[in-house]
Symmetry: C2
């Protein structure tokens, strides 16, 4: 049910079509949710059937007719209640993190290489996240910065330890 509420949240900010909503979700990961169009369209229809949004068809200057949705008073009420529900930490669900964790059984040179691969991903994402003054965006920025620092620290530690090659290691 989260996707519907997230869409409702976007529609309270401003009316939009399914396609618009997808753009907004994709460009701002700080919102905490994203989904494919194939999930967004049926979700909007459910919101419409439930009376949480209204629909206006409009000609598009550059494509097929747009279906523009806007939140109704009932939709705003529903959203408010959803936002007020208690917080909880999400169940972890991140294949990249799982790979990173399993990587710890590899040899240092491999680990360093892949840590730096990850580090670069983070650096790119940090660039993309550089703008924006919402609390959610500030949160995302500090988390990315922290993770970047973590990756660098882990790399450095591995490189420092690595000066002991197999031969030296055997003597300790």
């Amino acid at each position: 049910m989260s996707l519907s509420h997230v869409l409702l949240g976007l529609l309270v900010e401003s009316p939009a079509s399914g396609w618009d909503l997808k753009q907004r979700l994709a460009e701002d990961p700080a919102r905490g949710w994203d989904a494919d169009l194939s999930q967004i369209y049926p979700s909007l229809r459910r919101l419409l059937r439930g009376g949480f949004v209204s629909l206006k068809r409009r000609r598009s200057p550059k494509g097929p007719p747009r279906r523009e949705y806007r939140a109704t008073p009932s939709g705003r009420r529903e959203l408010k209640e959803w936002v007020a529900e208690p917080f909880s930490l999400p169940r972890p669900h991140d294949a990249t993190l799982a790979r990173l964790a399993l990587l710890e059984r590899s040899l240092p040179p491999d680990r360093v290489r892949r840590l730096q691969e990850y580090r670069n991903l983070l650096a790119d994402e940090l660039k993309r996240a550089a703008t924006g003054t919402t609390a959610a965006r500030r949160r995302r920025r500090v988390l990315l910065e922290t993770e970047l620092a973590w990756a660098d620290a882990e790399s450095a530690a591995l490189l420092a330890g690595r000066s002991l090659g197999p031969a030296e290691r055997a003597r300790t």
Copy 2:
């Protein structure tokens, strides 16, 4: 397919039953994945059919017979390949974060109250995460600490701004 690989990863560390695996996943969020037993059992069967794990039945001292799985050489190979796949940042999928982001349209007193609710969640989780010397756990710890600091900073900023009540605000 991630769940199977994560389970395989645990089984390479040590043989275990489905129930054991669930305990291990639940107790260490730094591994990056968790799932219900109702997902774990069928997943183990698929791994068994695929020859990635082997099965040994054992009497349990305190319950019905256990089904203990261990990774086969083919399973280890499969795992290695999976771990070597390229990294990517996960699609955001976090209802709590979405609530937090939407909360920014509420009035400061509400926002402070809920930020502190979230802060307390984080503080509890940080306590649970206090042990462990793997890189993945270190990562989790620094991220939780950063997020805690973020929540406190946002609260403080709101409280500082709040000294301007509606009346004072109107005059500026």
